[in-house]
């Protein structure tokens, strides 16, 4: 491994993206260290998802740089490397959990095949091994073994999200991007999923970037928090600090708009 644990895993500098004349996000810079969880909150249209796409190699930014510390070569510019290498990185060292499980899962193949796909993509050609890995990971995301050969379409929303997580973690990534992982789930399922994510991420030491509009999610999961508005980061700091003592008027509004139960 190149670099020490104290070097950042991901460095984002002055990231700007325009959709034509329309602004996606502007001048975003941050570092992410191994094992660290960064939350990004903001209202709809504030540029959260644009930022996540740019950082995760899915959308080339108009300006700025994204540098990732790879296992073999040290820090590499994500958009400077060849597409083949970027795609390999995305399906081995990275994971992406989508808001809509349909975007992240292969709906026409069974749960086991979904988990095994990444292994086969990096050259595993032993059915028994792929199968046992799939069983192992489905257990770790607390899924019923009897459903390993069922189609993801027959699963509930919470199970689909857990399957997505298992599918991403099977190659032991160091960095996972999550786009609204819990929205659309009811609160009890949400709580269980968050608990699961927190446990897995903590025990495996995975770094995470979680995009959400739900302050409860970031309070539970993330160490640090970025608040976005109109494509720009308006506040940035430790999660508890930002939520307990918000400085920017928008953050104050956001924190005060949580409905008390």
């Amino acid at each position: 491994m190149t670099g020490s644990v104290r070097d950042p895993l991901l460095q984002v500098r002055d990231l700007t993206h325009h959709y034509g004349r329309h602004l996606g996000c502007r001048d975003v810079s941050f570092d992410l260290h191994p094992g660290e969880i960064l939350g990004i909150v903001g209202e709809s249209g504030s540029g959260k998802t644009t930022l996540l796409k740019c950082v995760s190699g899915q959308l080339q930014p108009t300006d700025g740089s994204v540098s990732y510390r790879t296992r073999d070569l040290g820090p590499v510019d994500v958009y400077g490397m060849s597409e083949a290498r970027r795609r390999l990185l995305m399906r081995t060292d990275w994971g992406i959990v989508y808001q809509n499980a349909r975007d992240g899962l292969r709906m026409k193949v069974s749960a086991g095949a979904n988990v095994g796909e990444r292994l086969m993509a990096i050259g595993d050609r032993h059915y028994g091994h792929i199968r046992s890995e799939a069983v192992d990971w489905l257990e770790r995301v607390e899924m019923d073994m009897g459903r390993i050969d069922d189609m993801p379409g027959t699963f509930s929303g919470g199970m689909q999200q857990r399957l997505q997580i298992a599918r991403n973690l099977v190659t032991k990534p160091r960095l996972v991007f999550m786009d609204e992982p819990t929205s659309g789930l009811d609160v009890s399922v949400q709580a269980r999923l968050l608990d699961l994510i927190r446990g897995l991420v903590g025990s495996l030491g995975i770094a995470c970037i979680v995009v959400t509009h739900d302050l409860g999610v970031v309070r539970l999961l993330s160490h640090r928090l970025m608040v976005m508005k109109g494509g720009q980061v308006v506040e940035h700091g430790l999660t508890d600090q930002v939520l307990d003592d918000p400085q920017h008027p928008y953050t104050q509004l956001l924190v005060s708009s949580i409905l008390p139960v």
């Binding site: 292969r106 095994g116 796909e117 086969m120 993509a121 050609r125």
Partner: protein
């Protein structure tokens, strides 16, 4: 193979049909079109298993009947060639008869049923049982050239997957088979890897024929008319069927022998002979079966 690729400056009329159909160019297609197809073929041979786009023409037969194969045959056939056309292994099925007659009319070439006499063999769904030689060309009719099509509907994405050798998803489909049925059940159009690089659809031949493609002395050309793709396997090229280490590739076997010729090593068709479901098994390769019977081999004659 006596086809001469004309010099670019040569008059297009030089290879006009000596004995072909009046008013038509030799082998139906005009020389410019043939030249375009030959360019695609050369590229296809240079990159084994890679699908080369080409300007497929409208042919006087419907899509799905061999419009791709017939264009490839028209581009490579010469006046001295001997053509054999098979459909599901048989020389006497509608598709085979009409394509054979088409070239007999438009190119005036000799046709044959005998595999060993043919220099160009156009086929649908089978490879002849008799091993082919360096002097022969095998032309396949291909309905769906893209092996990843069932798994990835986007053409731009499948091309990228080929370019970057991202073939893991192909094994996902084989995994599904084993998870559901305990073995790989795909029995035709079984995906192969050509020359250690491109994953290729071998056209809907039974997987029984896949091992014959490996290091075959004959040139293998594949034409997909509707999909406008040509690909090729040059002579003596490695063609490996995809599989898992613990579930290796296997071909079909039969408990029965051919009822007519007694062959134990050929691909057998099941034929229902009455309304009660009585059946017999016969060679799908009609020429192979006849040759064996002429050489004195005999089967049990089927159900009495």
């Amino acid at each position: 193979m006596t086809t001469v690729i004309p010099h670019p400056n040569a008059s297009v009329a030089t290879s006009a049909a000596p004995a072909g159909l009046a008013g038509y160019n030799f082998a139906y297609l005009d020389e410019q079109t043939k030249r375009m197809i030959r360019r695609a073929l050369l590229k296809a041979v240079a990159i084994p298993g890679y699908q080369v786009p080409f300007g497929s023409r409208e042919m006087p037969l419907p899509y799905g009947w061999g419009t791709g194969g017939i264009q490839v045959t028209a581009a490579v056939i010469g006046p001295d060639d001997v053509l054999k056309v098979i459909d599901q292994g048989a020389d006497d099925t509608t598709n085979a008869v009409s394509i054979r007659r088409f070239f007999a009319k438009t190119a005036g070439v000799a046709t044959t049923d005998r595999t060993v006499d043919a220099t160009v063999i156009q086929t649908r769904h089978r490879i002849p049982e008799v091993p082919l030689t360096e002097n022969q060309i095998l032309v396949y009719q291909v309905p769906i050239p893209e092996p990843l099509r069932q798994l990835e509907p986007r053409e731009a994405e499948t091309r990228k997957m080929h370019a970057l050798e991202e073939y893991g998803v192909m094994h996902v489909s084989l995994y599904e088979d084993i998870a559901k049925f305990g073995r790989i059940t795909r029995s035709y159009n079984y995906p192969v890897r050509v020359n250690g690089r491109y994953v290729m659809a071998p056209s809907p031949i039974p997987k029984f024929d896949n091992p014959k493609m490996d290091r075959m002395p004959a040139l293998q050309l594949f034409g997909a008319g509707r999909e406008k793709r040509i690909y090729a396997v040059p002579p003596y090229t490695d063609v490996k069927s995809l599989d898992f280490e613990d579930h290796p590739f296997e071909i079909e076997t039969w408990e029965e022998d051919c009822s007519l010729c007694g062959a134990q090593d050929s691909y057998l068709d099941e034929v229902i002979v009455d309304d009660k479901g009585t059946k017999m098994y016969v060679c799908s390769d009609s020429d192979y079966c006849r040759e064996r019977r002429e050489a004195g081999h005999q089967g049990d004659g089927g159900p009495k």
